[in-house]
């Protein structure tokens, strides 16, 4: 597991990378670089499905969104698990404005998100 003041990340047994953002933490460019760097270290740079828990996270700025979108080479699919209205609108902005390269969807629960990621990995 890779830990950071803003997030925790680990590679699950099913080959999915799990990223959990700390509650109410704002995401900036450096946080995005740290997260994508951690992802690259865990997977060796191979495209891997990613589960992101942003249910209770804080706001994300534009440079962070652009960095996540730019490093689409690291992910085969991304499931964003949202909870609060804030996390949902951030997820929607990421989908519609940043236009990530990899298939990306929002989910209300982890179970459905993992099922979709497993399907997308097949």
């Amino acid at each position: 597991m890779i830990t950071n003041p803003k997030f925790r990340m680990w590679l699950r047994d099913d080959g999915i990378v799990h990223l959990v953002w700390e509650p109410r933490s704002a995401m900036g460019f450096e946080d995005a670089v740290a997260a994508t760097g951690a992802m690259a270290r865990l997977t060796g740079g191979q495209r891997t499905p990613l589960l992101v828990d942003v249910r209770d996270c804080g706001p994300q700025d534009r440079p962070a969104r652009l960095e996540f979108a730019r490093r689409g080479d690291l992910v085969s699919a991304v499931a964003l698990v949202v909870g609060t209205p804030l996390s949902r609108i951030m997820g929607n902005f990421f989908l519609t404005v940043s236009r990530p390269m990899a298939p990306t969807r929002l989910f209300d629960d982890e179970e459905t998100a993992l099922a979709w990621l497993s399907g997308s990995a097949e």
Binding site: R24, D56, R62, G83, T84, P85, I89, V97
Partner: protein, 286 residues
């Protein structure tokens, strides 16, 4: 409500000013909403760096504030991109305009000022004549037997000779003087500061010597001479056409005497034709 008991949401929803799902009364929401309105007003005034503050809960008002902030970020990025593109296009347009201006006033082959720019400089210098103590001079230069180069070595060699002559002419021209190509194998130098007709003739001789000699045109060294006609400003000539015509006539007189020499309008000659039997037999001019 007793101490430690949870508030009844149904009771709260019946109270005035309560907004369902927010758990806050309207008076408590007002400053948060006002901050969002302030950010929107700032965007309207093109202050895209304004941001609405977010609370800790991530509730619907925070989502609204975040949405407004997102829009501000995107507006700012788009605005900056448009400004960058406008600046880029403006610079390109200015460069293109400068290039068009340069092409309009310069000879494409040699890069020297062309006839139009020479006329402009000459007219300007003539206007200054009454206010400046020193006089002006003008040299009209023609390459002897240039046609022979084109006929013998081809037009590419002729063009190369023109480019090389232009380069030597630049080197022989003083700061403040204007060397121009009039067309064909004719060049002109406007001498900005000439003390006397004798000084104009000295300048002409300096140019003739600089341009005369051997040129490498792709088939071994090719000997070149030039004929130069010179005019001094105190010759009573007061229009560009008159000055040029006088210098042209002096150059023609130099040609008539065998070329490879300088002639001063109104009299005076310097230089000796560099005798070259190979050149004597070619071309329709000296």
């Amino acid at each position: 409500m007793t101490a430690g008991a949870q508030p009844d949401p149904r009771q709260a929803a019946r109270e005035p000013g309560h907004i369902a799902g927010l758990g806050q009364r309207l008076p408590e929401l007002t400053p948060r909403l006002e901050a969002i309105v302030s950010a929107i007003q700032a965007f309207a005034a093109l202050r895209f760096d304004a941001r609405a503050p977010l609370g800790p809960t991530g509730d619907i008002v925070d989502a609204l504030a975040a949405g407004v902030n997102f829009l501000g970020e995107e507006l700012e990025a788009s605005f900056n991109e448009v400004e960058r593109r406008v600046a880029e296009r403006t610079a390109e347009l200015a460069a293109a305009t400068r290039e068009l201006g340069r092409r309009a006033l310069h000879d494409e082959l040699t890069g020297l000022p062309n006839r139009a720019l020479l006329f402009d400089h000459l007219a300007h210098r003539l206007q200054q004549a009454g206010r400046r103590a020193e006089g002006l001079g003008l040299l009209f230069i023609d390459i002897d037997r240039f046609k022979l180069v084109n006929d013998t070595l081809g037009h590419a060699a002729g063009d190369r000779l023109l480019v090389d002559v232009a380069a030597r002419l630049r080197g022989a021209t003083r700061v403040g003087d204007t060397a121009a190509r009039m067309g064909g194998d004719e060049f002109v130098v406007l001498l900005d500061d000439v003390a006397s007709p004798s000084a104009a003739l000295t300048g002409a001789e300096r140019v003739r010597v600089a341009l005369s000699g051997s040129y490498e045109l792709g088939s071994g060294p090719w000997p070149v001479t030039v004929s130069v006609g010179a005019v001094a400003g105190d010759d009573g000539l007061d229009t560009p056409d008159a000055v040029l015509a006088a210098a042209d006539a002096a150059m023609y007189a130099a040609k008539q005497q065998g070329g490879g020499r300088c002639m001063l309008h109104g009299g005076g000659a310097r230089g000796r034709p560099d005798h070259d039997p190979a050149l004597d037999s070619g071309g329709d001019e000296p």
